[in-house]
């Protein structure tokens, strides 16, 4: 229980410390998804989902390579298996979160781009 309690409040505290970024992300995702939802046609489209998956892969790879640097460290210092696990979880997790912006953005682009480019 102790480690679960600590982990919960650690992450809660981290989210509270970055409340502005979290708020921008949540509000932005809500607006983008709402706008994408009210466009004509189905919300989920196969081609867009494929493109989103490719984007997610790119974002995850980018994060995997840059997160250590962004935290004041470097990939060269990752020598312990828990480091690699943490890096993979962080890269995949943040990339997953980015889907809430990427997919509706692609959906909006698809819906709003001029007819001659469709």
């Amino acid at each position: 229980m102790n480690e679960l309690n600590l982990t919960f409040f650690m992450l809660l505290g981290y989210a509270q410390a970055h409340w502005f970024i979290v708020s921008v992300f949540v509000v932005g995702a809500a607006i983008l998804n709402y706008l994408a939802w009210v466009q004509k046609g189905a919300f989920f489209q196969t081609e867009l989902l494929k493109l989103t998956l490719r984007s997610w892969t790119g974002v995850a790879l980018f994060l995997f390579l840059t997160i250590p640097w962004m935290t004041g460290s470097s990939l060269a210092l990752l020598s312990y298996w828990v480091d690699w696990m943490l890096l993979i979880v962080m890269a995949l997790g943040y990339a997953f979160a980015s889907l809430f912006w990427i997919y509706p953005t692609l959906r909006l682009y698809e819906a709003l781009k001029p007819v001659d480019k469709k």
Binding site: N2, F9, G13, A17, S73, L77, L78, S79, Y80, D83
Partner: protein, 441 residues
């Protein structure tokens, strides 16, 4: 870690109660004592608005809404002490370690913005620097430590940041000034000295972290090949646990650092940049320096040191540390008095991690005494040191009074340097610390 077989033995009811306890920040015992004491209206005085004082205030205010709780401390600004190593080595701006005490104190607390200068436990009262007598039914002493820079002859604390003089301990301002001195040294090199006094000190890992991070800055800024580095400890080891002592000493020596033991910094000629060390047999050695990182001798604040609350005999008497039972953290002579944090005269641990683990113990035992019971919670001496070995890597070392390793996350090997431990130190510990202040962790 909880084994699944053990988990399955827990009844659903107990598991749910445990969840509630975790959510309220009180153990089941503490909740039981709080319920017994909820109709009483004791006056509880907490002296010291550091991490221990504020955290206890929040927990008590929730547990005993009818109690009168007073906080005695003039300090309006809260220092996040664990972040000062990062300020003094240029990783953080000092604004990142400053906060407003009022922001974290519960609303229903009586905040006496004065300093306690005298304790009179026989009459259950203390006297503040304005002459006010504050009577109490129960007292929590959380005054922290006193930095005794005056014990080092010739040391002018106004000179930090100039002429190669640095100290991570004094304050966030001095930590920031120390970075100026360390930055210059890391570019130009020269003779660098890191000190460690013989007294118990707050965060015993900080002097080691300062040496490790300065080494890293030397390598980054080009001064490493021009530097002659020395670590002069007044103790006979660098770290309390043998394996880690060996690791640190080896790492220092691999980087060309000369490590000497039983050498106490006793005097500094600031203008001439000369430090005097005294060996255990009384011999004096003088060294000229380009960087001197000073770790001051520490002791309990005079108000505690000169009172009946201090140890009168034993190895904690000289520093005047608070005489508490190391398990219950209750005063050995005055059962209505408890101690928490750095002021405690206990064998190990003057860290924020110790505060985090001992605050619930103090609160539970205090509630027990208020409700007419005996203290039930035992503190195992938990302390933790995220030992920064370079920028980007650290070791997460957690241990108890016995020196046994007690990792919170058993899958993290304390003997390994890891990026995860660095992320915890640099990104996650401060948010966790704030949760601790609020009485959640």
């Amino acid at each position: 870690m909880i084994k699944m077989s053990h988990l399955s033995e827990l009844s659903r009811r107990r598991f749910l109660l445990g969840s509630v306890a975790a959510a309220t920040g009180l153990s089941l015992n503490a909740q039981s004592f709080a319920k017994q004491a909820e109709k009483s209206t004791p006056h509880i005085v907490i002296v010291g608005s550091g991490s221990a004082g504020i955290s206890i205030a929040n927990r008590l205010a929730r547990a005993l809404p009818k109690a009168k709780i007073s906080m005695v401390d003039r300090k309006e600004t809260h220092f996040y002490w664990p972040g000062l190593t990062l300020v003094a080595t240029g990783a953080w701006h000092k604004s990142k370690v400053l906060a407003d005490n009022g922001h974290y104190l519960p609303n229903n607390i009586h905040w006496i913005r004065e300093m306690a200068i005298e304790f009179d436990p026989d009459n259950k009262q203390l006297i503040t620097d304005t002459g006010r007598h504050v009577e109490y039914d129960f007292l929590v002493v959380a005054t922290g430590v006193e930095y005794n820079y005056r014990a080092i002859e010739g040391l002018d604390t106004e000179a930090f940041g100039q002429k190669g003089l640095a100290s991570v301990y004094h304050s966030p301002d001095v930590a920031a000034l120390s970075w100026e001195a360390i930055k210059k040294f890391s570019e130009k090199g020269g003779d660098g000295y890191f000190t460690l006094p013989s007294t118990p000190i707050r965060c015993a890992g900080a002097p080691l972290k300062m040496a490790f991070l300065t080494l890293d800055r030397l390598k980054q800024n080009g001064g490493f090949d021009k530097a002659n580095l020395n670590f002069y400890a007044a103790t006979d080891r660098l770290f309390g646990l043998p394996w880690f002592h060996d690791f640190i000493e080896t790492r220092f020596k691999e980087n060309g650092m000369d490590v000497q033991y039983r050498q106490e910094l006793t005097a500094v000629d600031v203008d001439a940049q000369i430090a005097t060390f005294e060996t255990s047999n009384g011999a004096k050695v003088t060294k000229s320096y380009d960087l001197l990182h000073v770790v001051p001798p520490m002791r309990a604040p005079a108000s505690v040191r000169q009172s009946n609350l201090a140890w009168q005999e034993g190895n904690m008497a000289e520093g005047g540390w608070l005489a508490v039972d190391k398990s219950t953290l209750q005063h050995i002579n005055y059962p209505e008095v408890f101690g928490c944090g750095d002021v405690n005269g206990t064998p190990r641990g003057k860290t924020a991690a110790t505060v985090k683990m001992s605050v619930p113990i103090v609160v539970e035992n205090l509630l027990a005494v208020i409700s007419g019971n005996q203290p039930t919670a035992d503190f195992n001496g938990y302390t933790s040191c995220p030992l920064l070995t370079q920028f980007g890597a650290a070791m997460l070392i957690e241990f108890d009074y016995q020196g046994d390793l007690v990792p919170t996350y058993p899958f993290i090997d304390p003997h390994k340097e890891s990026w995860l431990a660095w992320v915890m130190k640099e990104q996650l510990l401060k948010p966790t610390y704030i949760q601790m202040l609020k009485g959640n962790v």
